[in-house]
Subunit: 327 residues, 2 copies
Amino acid sequence: MPHLSRRHLMIGAGAVPLAAPLAGLLSSPAAAQTGSGQQVPGLYRYKVGAIEVTAVNDGVRTFPLPDGFVRNASRDQVNAALEAAFQPKDVMSIQFNPLLINNGGKLTLIDTGNGPQPGNATVGKLRANLAWAGVKPADIQTVVISHFHGDHINGLRAEDGGLAFPNAEIMVPEAEWAFWMDEGEESRAPDALKANFQNVKRVFKDIDSKVARFAWDKEVVPGLTAVDAAGHTPGHTAFVLASGEGKLFIQSDVTNTPILFAPNPDWQVQFDMDGAKAAQTRKRIYDMLAAERLQLTGYHYPFPATGFIRKSGDGYEAVPAVWRPVL
Amino acid sequence: MPHLSRRHLMIGAGAVPLAAPLAGLLSSPAAAQTGSGQQVPGLYRYKVGAIEVTAVNDGVRTFPLPDGFVRNASRDQVNAALEAAFQPKDVMSIQFNPLLINNGGKLTLIDTGNGPQPGNATVGKLRANLAWAGVKPADIQTVVISHFHGDHINGLRAEDGGLAFPNAEIMVPEAEWAFWMDEGEESRAPDALKANFQNVKRVFKDIDSKVARFAWDKEVVPGLTAVDAAGHTPGHTAFVLASGEGKLFIQSDVTNTPILFAPNPDWQVQFDMDGAKAAQTRKRIYDMLAAERLQLTGYHYPFPATGFIRKSGDGYEAVPAVWRPVL
């Protein structure tokens, strides 16, 4: 594009002053000889009004497509959706993307990833990626939890069982807390769900004083409002982040991967505890996102996990946001 | 997604051993207090068979939509395409994405970005981003050029006028060299093009001994074959990178931003020197990419600049590749 005049080119956003580059940082000199063999850190920043948010990838799980991964779709139907998105058949790849919110220097983290893992794991990268972003665990003032599945809460604990974010107040949806802490619900739960009850108890054991509960439609921290998105779990919560003209819908698990569930909103992933209600919530929220052309971020969206929703056929299309090299 | 058994989860790709994270690397401790104010380095790695490629962003230019930016579409039509992609109206944002190829330790760079810039520029980031990737300019053994527009060749020169990649052989399309070095072509060129001729002379002055010319359909470096993509310029060249089962189509400027030109392949960007031929080339190549479901990378695609093409309506849709947190 050689013919643009200077006049056309001067309104670009401001400079991007990088810190002094360090050779060998992302790949050792030895590795550079044969290929670095590793991906760059999963970090991406964008602005919501005056607020800076950072998608912080916790990793990816890749596994053979289990029977019943989508309760109400056949393997052939799931494979057709994968193929339409240029993905390999019979394989699922699920990503995990906590969100860091920097509002005037106050750091809030939404969801905490899969937590401590064995050395060869492909998940549990949240704290390493936060460190790349210059954020220490002790800097996080608030951790907001969307719901109590392990891939969202297990990162609250460090390797030694202590709190991974030692200075953070932990804020959880009151409906979610009420369900998982209810002995009656636990006793009535099917076996497959009992491990989840036990995991919730493990994670929240002895830290009641650090945990605050919030209601839907209330501001959790400045700019961040909790939204009823029940269905996936009884207290499953989405959020709206707003600042000035900026607005971001933080969908949590309204869908799992959009590759399957945006075009097929009636499909129920096996993790949807009330599948019919989850589908109803999905369509209600995606209709709103499409009508308002509102930017969203999804915890299980492919990194950098942000985009827009438009109606397409009987469902929706998730349009990835354009990467901005300048914040 | 709490119910997956270990059995399902063990086939993920290998570990991602990160170097020791450095707090404050991407944002100073002071900046972290109010927001980092800067994007992360524009780097993304993926494999093509045994070859590791890295998209290395050179930055973005953002400017008011000029009249005639698309020769044969109205402002309203261009704005409609921008709006369909959830982009602001009346603004163009063009990115620049050179590609680094690491084939068994031999480093080849395709195109060189906008070159040295004033301090506040939003382009010219190639060498800084290469440094983040652990690659020094002296490590590059070969620079392959797709065509002679300034945003592809200006990065061959450093601030002092010397060679930016001092040890690299520079390989250029012979048809491109023949056109721009032809005194007759220059004398017949319209005024708007004369600056481009002068820039080509500036960049290639006194370095004949470093420059080799390659023909279409020939292997330029191992695994990389030049493809006739003339139209955008007389010698405009695309490439196929192949290794084992892996294959990547490197489209160079077959389209400028896919936001406008994938859905509207007959539109001619003002930089297409032979607009009709460029459109013909675009449709021929995109028909092939769609039919073969072949992954592509585009120099002006939004970072990480890789995806797939499918037919859609009277044109095409560019489907971004899914980011892979594990290489």
